[in-house]
């Protein structure tokens, strides 16, 4: 549904997006993770036909973003929620949506139905005749989301949709995105909220001018960093330590009678470690698997780049 190949954007001598290549399937939620200034918004703007690319290719539903005729078709099938909501403060919620509905060439009936549907869904129907300028930040963000959906787009580009929102509003917006996911909308989500990406996205790309890594949250967690096993003992003594050293373990650390060790193949290695501890008279209270979190993966790549 969304394809990019060596997509590059330069501003003068500064390369903001460097040879970005990825593929997003229809109905997939793609999390585009990266620090501030990584080039996420520039990428989204190129894909939404708002700014041109310097080189490379990008296609949305088969349409070329750099072709003028195609770009109009692309803009009809995508919905954009920019970083700043960009609502008209001097228009009511209803008129804001109606204006965009007209520009997206929705019929009068479709506009009426969709405005009512989305405003009710987002809890703003009672405020439909209130000026958008009087809305709270959370309400504005909800209204901006409704605006991006007014023409029932197949693809949604959401730029930091929960940034600067209070926890309750963030949850409402996040839940709404999850509802859209159920409707099989293709969603390109710019965020630096790792928790949000982990909960919502099918696929995640970690990006900092260049795409560092791409995969499902599970794939990133499992494959990128080493797996670890944590073993809580009643007491750690020299006999146990000697037995473990004989196993030539990787990165063994001990903290408050808790052993943490890197394992490559936990299914084979964990029983051997447990046997060695028990044989040395150790009393195991519990044993747990420690996976690398998305945060670990993110920091590894983003810091690695620096």
């Amino acid at each position: 549904m969304i394809d990019a190949e060596n997509l590059t954007r330069k501003f003068g001598d500064l390369t903001v997006v460097d040879k970005l290549t990825f593929h997003i399937e229809e109905g997939e939620v793609f999390g585009f993770l990266g620090p501030n200034g990584a080039g996420k918004t520039t990428t989204m703007r190129m894909l939404s036909c708002l700014i041109s690319k310097t080189s490379g290719e990008a296609r949305i539903a088969g349409y070329d973003v750099s072709d003028e005729a195609d770009s109009l078709k692309i803009r009809k099938i995508i919905g954009l929620l920019p970083e700043n909501n960009g609502l008209y403060d001097d228009l009511t919620a209803y008129k804001n949506l109606d204006f965009y509905g007209k520009l997206y060439e929705c019929s009068k009936t479709q506009r009426k139905e969709n405005i009512e549907h989305f405003l009710k869904l987002l809890g703003l129907w009672d405020k439909k005749d209130v000026l958008a300028g009087t809305f709270s930040k959370g309400m504005k963000q909800k209204l901006a989301i409704a605006r991006s959906l007014i023409h029932e787009p197949e693809i949604l580009f959401l730029d930091e949709p929960t940034a600067n929102l209070d926890p309750e509003s963030s949850k409402t917006v996040r839940d709404f995105i999850l509802d859209l996911k159920k409707e099989k909308k293709t969603i390109f989500l710019n965020t630096h909220n790792l928790d949000e990406a982990q909960r919502i996205c099918d696929k995640i790309g970690i990006f900092n001018t260049k795409l560092m890594v791409i995969g499902s949250p599970e794939e990133l967690e499992d494959s990128t960093l080493r797996k670890k096993t944590a073993i809580q003992l009643k007491e750690v003594n020299d006999k146990i330590l000697k037995a473990l050293r004989n196993l030539s373990l990787r990165n063994l650390t001990i903290d408050n009678n808790k052993l943490i060790v890197d394992v490559v193949n936990p299914e084979n290695e964990n029983p051997i470690i447990v046997d060695a501890i028990v044989s040395a008279g150790g009393k195991i209270q519990y044993i747990t698997r420690i996976s690398s979190t998305l945060e670990d993966v993110y920091l590894k790549f983003v810091r690695g780049k620096k």
Binding site: S48, C49, L50, P82, G86, D89, K95, L131
Partner: protein, 261 residues
């Protein structure tokens, strides 16, 4: 090109302008004030000239300027008509700054440009936004000016000075063209700067040639007769065509969004 989309953009702007009273009121007040003050001024000057004529007659000095009263008034009426060309530059310039830069400042340009509208449809919409209200205000105030001027000067000059061909050319040809020119220039400026005041001030700088023209009129270097007015019309038409072609190449959504001013 879908003209109705430009109209949708313009009507949206009209709705938002209603809430921006600080922007709109001066645009209405200035022309209305001129349309009332200028005829009163002409009346006052006419009375003064009449008074001087009477005094000169009484004291028996050869009346060299007798009969100049009605001529002076018609000259004044003509030169005051030129104010409507000035208004046609000032008013759309202010409105265009708010219309285009307002979107940029309120960050509403990005979602707007993400809709399936072309750059030309957007620019046309923004031009209509600035053009129509200004033309309406100018025509309305010109009507008041003409009616009041006729009422005040009829007794002195002995006929209704307005309407006449000069004013017709000013209102029907020069005013629309100058408005379009002002809007086009402001569109170019607005795409390069990031605040309304700068855009308005830069736009008004480009107004200097019209001030020069007005000085030429007042110093009788040129007069506002039909031939000269048609000459101004031709020059304006060429200027509008040139500025329009420049603005079409300069105004691209890419540049508008990435230019930070």
């Amino acid at each position: 090109m879908k003209l109705w989309k430009s109209w949708v953009i313009a009507t949206k702007d009209f709705s938002t302008f209603r809430e921006k009273k600080n922007t709109i009121y001066p645009l209405i007040v200035l022309p209305l004030l001129l349309s009332i003050v200028l005829p009163i001024l002409i009346g006052g000057i006419g009375n003064l000239i009449g008074l001087i004529d009477n005094l000169i007659g009484i004291i028996g000095i050869p009346i060299l300027i007798k009969g100049s009263s009605s001529k002076d008034i018609t000259v004044l009426l003509n030169s005051f008509s030129f104010f409507y060309i000035i208004l046609a530059f000032i008013l759309p310039n202010t409105l265009a700054s708010y219309s285009i830069l307002g979107e940029k400042i309120e960050k509403s340009l990005e979602p707007l440009l993400a809709t399936p509208i072309t750059d030309t449809e957007l620019l046309l919409g923004k031009s209509i936004t600035s053009f129509l209200p200004c033309i309406a205000i100018i025509y309305f105030s010109a009507m008041i000016f003409m009616v009041l001027s006729d009422a005040i000067t009829y007794n002195t000059i002995g006929y209704l000075f307005f309407p006449n061909w000069s004013m017709a050319i000013i209102l029907l040809l020069a005013v629309p063209l100058v408005s379009i020119l002002s809007i086009q220039l402001n569109v170019i400026i607005s795409s390069r700067v990031s605040d309304v005041r700068t855009a308005t001030q830069l736009g008004l700088l480009l107004f200097l040639p019209f001030i020069g023209l007005y000085i030429f009129l007042e110093t009788s270097v040129i007069s506002l007769n039909i031939i000269n007015l048609l000459g101004i019309f031709v020059i304006l038409s060429v200027a509008v065509a040139i500025i329009f072609s420049i603005s079409k190449t300069i105004i691209q959504r890419d540049k508008i969004l990435t230019k930070r001013g």
